[in-house]
Symmetry: C2
Subunit: 339 residues, 2 copies
């Protein structure tokens, strides 16, 4: 039985989306067991009238609520009875729980997981790895994208090993093409950390390192994973999302400015719908934290039930494929490089 | 008389675009004098039959050609008779030349200018400042975006002072809103460099520092200048350009996939044309190098005559507004912070 804990509060559609997503995943996977974490009374109401295998559902009461503007460090210290923090502590303390899924605050979740959970043996720093859709219909992972604003070349190599194994085991990407985010393609580009990392990545066995990537090529479909420090990785992901959203907004504004355009758009209705769906990041699953002792998956705050279900699916695959063990084995080969 | 040197080779439409752009600027500004740098025979042919005030045009012969894949450092060392390197050396050596405009290789131009030109007194590091259009019809500058991959907080403060003065003097932006690129809005976000810079920017008199900016808000129109290290600034600019281009390409591909869509797009033809024009970065002028002793403006490689003319206009405004002197005065106030 694989036990996954769901933080049922903190997202825009909580607790409905987490509960419904969890029950959908439960129905599909006979060996899945879910632990719903949050205010018990509200959760019982949400479950009322729904059909599910109650022997595989557990509720953990966590009544505290995290405010929008609370600092992650304060949440970790002070909100131990929130669904998120209680979830993280349970994940740490209960051997039977394999993973956790949350659609709450990214900052609080990453900080909480880094502070409260242990790491996979050998991992220096866990890293955050979201997924974006590429223009050829594929996906690309970005690791790290915010957990570590400062890194060494040894960290970057570990991010590469972890995210490559992740893409292979969870998304079935064969021999993932791993690139290093840099300001130019040539090996000597960037700062010392980047130049050193380039060398380390080249000599890492079993890693399909394809060289530096310039950020303008992220969506080209030429890469499966991009390795970055958490600062520029964060800029990469958020700029992509921001530019896409601003452009769609602009396009919409233009269309509604003239009747002729509205008419034209009417003919293209399905196309625009498909495009919007294509750019809807929650279709591609959540962002995972790689390198912590237990699996943590972060879904978009706006996740609906189907997106939460995808996140649970991701966590499930990470556990079933024994990703943590594989990461430990590969990382161990280069332990002598740890700073 | 304001003398501006034009590197007439290296761009996609050279030498036609640089020459025509220069003559257009010449016709509009009676006190402008232009120096065309490149292969003299080819330039004379390009000028043949055109009407212009020959007393304000000079040709400097520079026959060497820079190849596409040449390393910037090699170009600087070995291609002294290329139009770009000869231009930079002339700019340095001739007191009468105020500025230079080039549409050639960014890497070679920035490296050449940093190596060969002096700096404005007090400036620790010159920085590269491109301009992007925002969704509300305005513009935003990004400084630095590639000249310095590693920075200190003192550098970031200087970038802020220089780029704020630039936006004010060249684009007429009153009291420019200056933001610091970071992974979150809160003052304590990011690494030590960012946290220190936040404090320095807050206490810089005459600077309208509005706090940290998350990269997803770049195009929102809420900021006039964004200050960044050259690595993440480069990621910010190239990701924005890359995402916009990839999306337009995707849109075009979808439209051509079905007759109905093609029909719809026909009705929206003007809208798509306007959108493409709006996103055409060369409409917004070139990227300037701020902090070098003489003005250097880099136009897009794909610049046509009108874009080159805009670059010359920028250089002209920088000189007329005595931007360098203003930068020197403001920078001097904080000289004791220099590392």
């Amino acid at each position: 039985m694989i036990k996954i804990l769901i933080d049922c509060f903190g997202g825009d559609h909580s607790p409905q989306a987490p509960v419904e997503g969890a029950l959908a995943a439960l129905a599909k996977n006979p060996d899945l067991y879910i632990i719903l974490c949050g205010d018990e009374e509200i959760l019982r109401k949400e479950l009322a009238g729904k059909t599910y295998d109650a022997s595989r559902v557990e509720i953990v009461h966590a009544p505290e609520v995290i405010g929008c503007n609370e600092k992650p460090t304060d949440v970790v210290r002070l909100k131990r009875n929130s669904s998120m923090m209680k979830g993280i502590i349970l994940l740490r303390d209960r051997d039977d729980i394999a993973a956790m899924v949350s659609t709450g605050s990214t900052g609080a979740l990453v900080t909480g997981a880094l502070v409260r959970l242990g790491r996979i043996p050998g991992v220096i720093r866990p890293a955050f790895c979201p997924i974006l859709p590429t223009m050829d219909g594929g996906i690309v992972g970005i690791c790290d994208s915010g957990a570590n604003v400062e890194v060494t070349s040894a960290h970057l190599r570990q991010f590469a090993i972890m995210s490559s194994l992740y893409m292979e085991n969870v998304y079935g990407v064969k021999n993932p093409r791993v690139a290093l985010l840099n300001v130019g393609k040539e090996a000597e580009k960037g700062d010392d950390v980047r130049r050193e990392a380039y060398g380390l990545l080249q000599e890492t066995e079993g890693l399909n390192f394809v060289g530096n990537m310039e950020s303008r090529d992220l969506l080209s479909g030429s890469y499966d994973v991009v390795v970055a420090d958490g600062f520029s990785g964060n800029v990469l992901v958020k700029t992509t999302e921001g530019t896409a959203l601003e452009l769609l907004k602009k396009l919409k504004g233009e269309i509604f400015s003239r009747t002729l355009y509205k008419l034209g758009a009417l003919l293209m209705k399905k196309m625009f719908k498909d495009l919007k769906e294509f750019m809807n990041y929650q279709n591609y699953g959540g962002s995972v934290l790689l390198g912590t002792s237990k699996v943590v998956v972060k879904g978009h705050g706006s996740s609906k039930a189907v997106a939460v279900e995808k996140c649970i699916e991701q966590a499930y695959k990470m556990e079933v494929s024994q990703l943590s063990g594989k990461i430990e084995t590969e990382i161990a080969k280069y332990e002598h490089y740890i700073d």
